[in-house]
């Protein structure tokens, strides 16, 4: 069985990866580490209702950096003894995660939530809620406040 973890190099997605590693080790499952390269800082900022420093990092990253970083994060899972596949593509995050989960026959998806900014009441929908609503398998959403 396979756990798919969605990463965007944010703190929340690091928590998601750490949780997924513990889970995969406990259940002896394989892992897919998936990153959708969004590229645009503006898009991320608008989505959260404020400028997101993570978005800034991503805006300066190119696809090659994203692939390299995905590989680096995946290594932590491999070091825990998990069999890991990585996928990183320029894509719409929620659609990409759902598509990759289907493809890998994932039995669980783990994803960090960016939480909400000032516009939380007007801008409905985040990547995590979209994934949770549309996935055919259970989805673990890791909150932004978790330390």
């Amino acid at each position: 069985m396979t756990v798919l973890v969605a990463i965007d190099f944010s703190r929340q997605s690091r928590k998601a990866l750490d949780w997924a590693i513990d889970y995969a080790v406990a259940r002896n499952e394989d892992m897919v580490v998936a990153h959708a390269f969004a590229g645009s800082r503006t898009a991320l900022g608008v989505k959260d209702g404020h400028l997101d420093p993570i978005g800034q990092v991503e805006a300066e990253m190119n696809m090659g950096d994203a692939v390299e970083l995905t590989g680096k994060w995946s290594q932590d899972a491999r070091d825990a003894g998990i069999e890991v596949t990585t996928v990183a593509e320029k894509a719409k995050p929620a659609d990409f995660i759902l598509e990759q989960a289907q493809k890998a026959h994932a039995t669980i998806i783990v994803i960090g939530s960016r939480g909400h900014g000032a516009l939380k009441r007007t801008l409905l929908g985040s990547v995590a809620t979209k994934v949770a609503a549309e996935a055919t398998c259970p989805v673990v959403v890791i909150p932004p406040s978790e330390d």
């Binding site: 039995t107 939530s113 609503a133 909150p143």
Partner: protein
């Protein structure tokens, strides 16, 4: 991995059953206790199709039965989780599902809240039910959201 219990919201819906099973599996895998929270409220026991006439009377009758039914229902599902190997406690209370789940998650120092994508208020594909949506947005807890037909 934190060892706090898993707090699962359960109801009569299909998603509730899937959530129970996913929560059971997870509690067993992570070796933590499972706390089943069933929030019931009398008005939910009034069938949606009921007309205005006589509905008040029916609602009263439902309210009287609802607590007993909720407890009985919780016990049945607790048994199902125990058969799955989990250590289970049940809580059945009159109240708002989201608030009860957050309250008990806090009291129990839960490591996770588990809910179905949709409760009994209806199923809309591609839109999260109100309880799941609210928990994912605001709870500050890890939330496992379980769809109706969970692929095993």
């Amino acid at each position: 991995m934190p060892s706090g219990p898993i707090v699962a919201g359960i109801d009569f819906s299909e998603c509730g059953g899937a959530a129970l099973d996913a929560a059971t599996e997870l509690a067993v895998a992570l070796d933590v206790e499972l706390v089943l929270v069933h929030a019931f409220s009398p008005e939910r026991y009034v069938p949606a199709l009921m007309g205005d006439a006589g509905s008040e009377l029916m609602a009263e009758a439902h309210a009287e039965r609802s607590q007993d039914e909720a407890i009985e229902f919780s016990q049945i599902w607790a048994e199902r989780a125990r058969e799955g190997g989990a250590t289970v406690r049940t809580i059945a209370e009159d109240g708002d599902p989201k608030e009860l789940l957050i309250q008990y998650a806090s009291e129990e120092k839960a490591s996770m809240i588990v809910v179905g994508t949709h409760g009994h208020k209806g199923f809309k594909r591609f839109v999260l039910g109100s309880v799941a949506e609210a928990l994912v947005r605001d709870a500050g807890y890890r939330v496992l959201v379980v769809p109706k037909r969970s692929k095993k």
